[in-house]
């Protein structure tokens, strides 16, 4: 059960091209599992911005003098994240979380490859910790546009067997995309499962590569969200259910983590004609 908390910012610091915010938010840490996200109010009381902004949870602390904190990492994208980037310690922000369906963890100690694009690696780091606690071996593939947009490389090194890094401009690791190196990594590590978080195009490529090797990919998608809690229906994408019927499902409550091969990547942004309740001629 998510909570809504008006909490104080403990710290806000630059990490490469991003900022990492830690906010006091008791009640979130207790329920948190890797893959959950928070939704944050922006702009202050007389703001013209009504909607929350979603951020993957990077870290939680359930103890300590503050009775629980949550940390997330963000890049400035538009007006709301611009506002957020000017917050200072002791300012308060309104946070709702934990939200969404987290990554499912394997019940046996498997080998897992975690693929992160940009800030998408943030939720993968606590995932790696959880996997290792279950005896899994973890490998990382991290990619970004440029070196300053790689997130969590050091942490990943500490947690991973293998780590591969790519950047579009070659300013760190190999020049190219994660999908360029992923096949070799999977080959080399013989991974049983793939987890990914990052841009939609990356998730799609990762899914294809994993599926081609016959392994499952769990991917955390990023769809434009108005509420984050399942009441507005803005964040849908076409996903094939276990009954093989395609539905427009809410990525905020039925995701953001999906089995990659269930997402109809070709049809994201459309309503496939065979989706449940799809328009028939009439409209």
């Amino acid at each position: 059960m998510p909570v809504q908390v008006l909490g104080e910012i403990l710290s806000i610091r630059k990490v490469g091209a991003y900022q990492a915010v830690t906010v006091v938010a008791p009640g979130i840490a207790e329920l948190y599992r890797p893959g959950h996200f928070v939704a944050v109010q922006v702009g202050g009381p007389e703001s013209s911005m009504l909607l929350r902004r979603a951020f993957a949870i990077y870290d939680v602390q359930s103890r300590g003098v503050y009775g629980g904190t949550v940390q997330f990492v963000f890049s400035v994208h538009g007006k709301g994240t611009e506002w957020l980037s000017h917050r200072k310690p002791q300012d308060k922000i309104d946070v709702v979380g934990p939200l969404g369906k987290p990554f499912r963890l394997p019940t046996t100690p498997v080998r897992a490859t975690l693929v992160g694009g940009g800030y998408g690696s943030a939720p993968l780091l606590p995932l790696a910790v959880a996997l290792r606690e279950r005896g899994c071996t973890v490998d990382f593939v991290l990619g970004a546009g440029s070196a300053d947009k790689l997130f969590g490389q050091l942490d990943a090194k500490r947690l991973a067997g293998v780590i591969a890094v790519t950047t579009d401009d070659g300013s760190a690791g190999e020049r190219g995309r994660v999908s360029d190196v992923l096949p070799q990594v999977l080959e080399r590590t013989n991974s049983d499962v793939v987890y990914a978080c990052g841009p939609m195009a990356m998730l799609r490529a990762v899914t294809e590569i994993a599926t081609a090797r016959g392994i499952t990919a769990q991917v955390a998608v990023e769809e434009s969200m108005a509420c984050g809690i399942g009441v507005c229906m803005t964040c849908v994408l076409p996903v094939r259910g276990e009954d093989d019927v395609t539905r427009m499902v809410r990525s905020c409550v039925e995701g953001p983590v999906f089995l990659g091969d269930r997402v109809r990547w070709d049809d994201v942004g459309t309503v496939p004609a065979d989706a449940l309740g799809a328009p028939t001629g009439g409209h």
């Binding site: 809504q4 009504l50 309503v271 309740g277 409209h283």
Partner: protein, 338 residues
């Protein structure tokens, strides 16, 4: 120390104002409801607060068949508002009755079921299916839908079409269930549509649905929404909504109104009440503030108490009193707060 607002923990000390309100034949314990399409069928919000604390839960408009809704993007944030173009995605009436309404009934919530269709026949069948459904407290007829039999002309924009739908629904639904018609502000004269609905048997009116709007992405240089146009909601439209409530109440003072459009605080809710609403729906605000409905309820109760009201119902339509009219026993305009 750090200040916290955590869900459920605050059983707000409710001031001693009688908050109950009558909507047509039915009494609701208080006048704060959710808005259709902004609270799904109540389950998600029940995680944040006890939804039975609300006057009623207005469900997302339901159609006969399951419906996928429109392609994405389905929303755009706008100054103090948002555009949506969901396309009435929903599970269809059967699944709705089985799961959503059953859950609401079980939970003890007062369900206001919103129905939508593409023809008079659709609406009639929906009313038919809902007859006698446990948990149903009221029916809201969303007539802001294109009439597939009349070149997509929206029912709510034509007095005759609106009247046909309302009359069919009213005849079909059992008399104990109030039937409210939900009006669109996108008309030249909202009182004409209001009158047509009431003449056709509507027991009350929900005022207002979203305004037709659109946004253009200046990067792709195309409309932002996959559906091109969408419905504008949120505080941006509040002055239009208050005006519509005012006009409808002035034209039809005896018809109960469920007012909505940009309500964010108890003060905003009071504005609608003074304009003539007997109850209010909190819609878009929920997206930014899931606990808003109960907060608005507590704030409204406080605002009424501050003004000396003993009964909520005494505030309904009070702003229409003639220039020098005395206030009813109790209430006082609030002076300089300093």
């Amino acid at each position: 120390m750090t200040e916290l607002t955590v869900r459920r923990d605050v059983p707000a000390p409710r001031p001693r104002v009688d908050l109950s309100t009558r909507l047509a034949g039915r009494t609701f314990p208080n006048p704060v409801f959710t808005a259709s399409g902004c609270a799904a069928a109540g389950q998600e919000l029940d995680q944040f607060f006890d939804i039975t604390e609300l006057g009623g839960v207005v469900t997302k408009s339901i159609m006969l068949a399951p419906r996928s809704g429109r392609a994405t993007p389905r929303m755009a944030e706008t100054p103090s508002g948002m555009l949506n173009s969901i396309g009435l995605q929903g599970p269809g009436i059967d699944a709705f009755l089985d799961k959503d309404l059953a859950w609401l009934a079980d939970r003890g919530a007062r369900a206001v079921v919103s129905i939508a269709g593409g023809s008079v026949e659709d609406y009639t069948q929906l009313a038919q299916r809902l007859r006698g459904a446990p948990g149903l407290a009221m029916l809201e007829v969303n007539i802001s839908c294109p009439n597939v039999e009349d070149r997509g002309q929206v029912f709510a924009c034509d007095p005759r079409a609106a009247s046909e739908v309302v009359s069919a629904v009213r005849k079909t639904m059992t008399p104990d269930i109030p039937v409210f018609a939900k009006l669109s502000p996108d008309v030249t004269d909202i009182t004409a549509i209001a009158r047509a609905c009431v003449d056709a048997g509507a027991d009350g009116l929900s005022v207002i649905n979203t305004l037709l709007g659109m946004a253009i992405d200046t990067d792709t240089m195309r409309p932002v929404l996959a559906g091109v146009t969408g419905g504008l909601s949120g505080p941006a439209i509040r002055p239009v909504a208050v005006r519509c409530v005012w006009q409808v109440h002035q034209a039809l003072p005896d018809v109960p109104i469920l007012g909505m459009g940009g309500i964010r605080t108890g003060r905003d809710a009071l504005e609608f009440v003074l304009a003539g609403a007997s109850a209010v729906s909190v819609g878009t605000t929920v997206f930014g503030d899931p606990m808003a409905p109960v907060r608005v309820l507590a704030e409204l109760a406080q605002a009424l108490a501050d003004r000396g009201f003993e009964r909520f119902s005494d505030a309904v339509g009070l702003a229409h009193r003639p220039p020098e009219a005395a206030l009813p026993e109790g209430p006082d305009p609030v002076g300089d707060p300093a």
